[in-house]
Symmetry: none
Subunit: 248 residues, 2 copies
DNA sequence: TTTTAATTTGCATATATGCGCATAATTATT
DNA sequence: AATAATTATGCGCATATATGCAAATTAAAA
């Protein structure tokens, strides 16, 4: 990849998100963070970005907005994202939910994966929008405020009309006894519809969500094909799950 | 192979991909990289390409050449956003497109406006997602990469089923003679459908887009109800538009 | 504070580039 | 047609640029 291309892509990221992290760009563009920082220098000299610790921001960036302090458990989520990437094969169709873990996965997806993604969350749509070889299709609907995912009858309807190889969802509660659980009724309906639309079901969950239960039931554990946590599959903590799902 | 043929092929590659690697061309045309570089020299002298380390790029791609433009107009866009806010009444339904000007409007919308927004762009959806009293409904579809707006038949379909008080769109080209114009066919279809779905049409445009024309026609000027620019309505620059639309 | 993460710096390596020259191909001249 | 002149091409080498790695430094976070 030409350096010029990288600069273009960096600017695109900055204009898109107002801020970029060196680490994210490093993974996206598959160069070292050093190189990203050197690119930053050029863009700074050109007055196109401003440097901040950890990344860069657009010159017109105002702090109050977009300042999401999502750093929490980000490392675990990145491990999960790396594992989940292995499920994404060339030319597959994927139905993908929202939530911070899923967004981490979206960011980690390589620039040259050729596939079709059906997305339910505007954030995920944006995170994927710069991947040249990806078809991104938003399943529209009412934006649920607390989850930032499209919900409602129209979503369920549209989901009933598509078939995908895989669906990827985040877990709010997961236990051997109760299976997958959530606290939001609308989201539960959406996830159920997603699972019907997909051949295989992958659940991404940081380990702290394991062995917890939310008010509403989504499905039994055995309805899940892959469970991806930041722990190695042979971690004793995961032992109870081994019989029902494939651990990654 | 004749040198002239090579030059032709090189230009074709550049126009096709906006960039070429010396190494690729060397292999493709079966000549040494030196020769390719010497070819580059000719094309550079002719102003047809620009040299970068590792290859060459099309002049429009080279970033130092299109340095400004996007970021600087932000102030104007904020002025436009403030004016456009006045069109948003309590309990109205609004259909809103994408683009930087529109995103600026979305950010400017007050926290206690009670209304329903149909959105076509994930960025706009996110910008609106934290307004407590807003219903945000995404019209889903294939995400168009260059505009970051949902497009395609499903969008047109969904738009045919809704009725809103107002639609707000950004202009790419606007002139008295040619009306509203754009360069992307998919977007044109979407805008037309938006206008059919809405009672009133507001066009937001920074003044530099005025009196310019793009390849594809969207509609005549009189199909637009409100034209909002950063200039005051009595600016002489806007005089030709006065008869056809209401200026804000 | 201590601890962690990000950045800078210097260095090593790989790749790209420019130049001189020899050779091959093309064109002009006799 | 043969030869001279011109132009195009490839190769080796010196230099410049780009990139990654590791240690040292600096900034943020706990």
């Amino acid at each position: 990849m030409l350096k010029e291309e990288r600069l273009k892509l960096i600017m695109r990221e900055v204009n898109l998100h107002n801020k970029v992290l060196s680490a994210d760009l490093s993974r996206l563009l598959d160069v070292s963070e050093d190189t990203i920082r050197r690119d930053f220098k050029e863009l700074i000299d050109a007055g196109k970005i401003l440097k901040v610790h950890g990344g860069a921001v657009s010159p017109s960036f105002h702090f109050p907005h977009n300042m999401q302090s999502d750093v929490y458990a980000r490392e675990s989520k990145q491990i999960i994202a790396e594992k989940a990437k292995k499920l994404l094969k060339k030319d597959c169709t994927v139905l993908i939910e929202g939530g911070t873990t899923i967004i981490e996965l979206a960011k980690a997806i390589s620039n040259d994966l050729h596939a079709t993604f059906f997305v339910l969350s505007p954030q995920v749509a944006i995170a994927l929008s710069d991947r040249e070889r990806l078809d991104v299709i938003s399943i529209g609907g009412k934006l649920s405020r607390n989850s930032n995912v499209h919900t409602g009858a129209s979503v369920i309807n549209q989901l009933s009309e598509i078939k995908t190889d895989l669906c990827i969802i985040g877990a709010n509660g997961l236990s051997v006894a109760e299976g997958l659980t959530d606290s939001d009724w609308e989201i539960v309906q959406v996830i159920k519809a997603m699972m019907r639309a997909a051949q295989k079901v992958a659940v991404l969950s940081i380990s702290e969500k394991l062995n917890t239960t939310q008010r509403l039931k989504v499905c039994e554990l055995h309805a899940v094909d892959y469970l991806i946590t930041e722990l190695p599959p042979d971690d004793p903590f995961l032992a109870p799950y081994k019989n029902s799902v494939e651990l990654l």
